[in-house]
Symmetry: C2
Subunit: 113 residues, 2 copies
DNA sequence: GTTATTGTTTACCGCATGGTAAACCGTTCG
DNA sequence: CGAACGGTTTACCATGCGGTAAACAATAAC
C-alpha cells in the first residue's frame, strides 16, 4: 500500500541532481531546444537525453517536437505539489505545541536530576 | 566544478523516498525514537537505521542519544532551503514575459505557414 | 541525392541505493 | 550476574542511475 513510484518520488528524485536543477533553472527563463539545454554541460547528447527524460517523466518538462528540434518548456505544476508537501510538513512542525512541552519536560528532567 | 554532493542534492534525494517522507511527516508531529519511527514499516531495523542516516546526513533529522534510546527530531531548515530553491524557479517562470512572446510568435508562425 | 544537424537507442560500465541476515555493542532489567 | 532491549555494523544481493561510445533515425541544408 506504499503507492510505489509515487509522483512525488519522481519529482524529488528529478530535483536531486544538479544538472537537472540547472536545466530547470534554464527552462524557467524560457523554453529551449534539447541541444541548447545540454550545452552548458560537458556530457554526451545521450546523457542529456536521459536527463530530459527524467524531468519529463516527473512532469516537470514538456516537449514539443517540431521537425527535428525538440523544444522544451517547464511545467511548474509538479513543483507546486512538491512545495505543498514540504510546506505541509513544515506547518505541522510549526504548530507542535506538544513537542515544545516535550522538549521543556526533557530539559527540565535533565537540569534537575 | 559541479559542486558534487551539494546539500540540495542530499535533501531532495532524502525526500525522494516514501518511507523517508513518512518518517518526516511523523517527526513533524513530535520527536520519536528510532524504533517508534520504523514501527509503521515492514522492514529490518538495519533498514530503518539506514533511512534515518540518510535523513540525518541531509540535515533534516537531529539525533539525541540518551542511554540506549536515540530520540529523533526534525530540523526544518533544509526543508526551507529546498522550498526556496523551488520557489525561485517558480518565480522566474511566473515572470517569463519573453517566454510568452516566444510562445505567441511560435503559434503565429504555425498558424500562418 | 548527399551531407550535416538534432536527438534517440542500444549496449555497457562503475557506483550508489534499498533491502536482508547475522553478528555485535551498550544499556537496562530481573 | 545473565537476559532482554534498542540500535549499529558488516557482508551481501538486486536494482537503478549517471555516464560513455557507437549505431541509428529523421529532418534540413547544400
Amino acid at each position: 500500500m506504499v503507492n510505489r513510484s509515487d509522483s512525488l518520488d519522481r519529482v524529488f528524485r528529478a530535483l536531486a541532481d544538479p544538472t537537472r536543477r540547472a536545466m530547470l533553472t534554464r527552462l524557467a527563463k524560457g523554453q529551449a531546444s534539447i541541444g541548447t539545454l545540454g550545452d552548458p554541460f560537458a556530457m554526451t547528447k545521450a546523457a542529456v537525453t536521459k536527463h530530459v527524460k527524467v524531468l519529463e517523466r516527473a512532469g516537470l518538462l514538456v516537449r514539443a517536437v517540431e521537425g527535428r528540434v525538440h523544444t522544451c518548456r517547464i511545467d511548474p505544476a509538479p513543483l507546486t505539489k512538491a512545495e505543498q508537501w514540504v510546506e505541509q510538513v513544515r506547518s505541522f512542525w510549526e504548530g507542535r505545541l506538544d513537542e515544545l512541552s516535550n522538549y521543556l519536560a526533557n530539559t527540565e528532567s535533565r537540569r534537575a536530576p
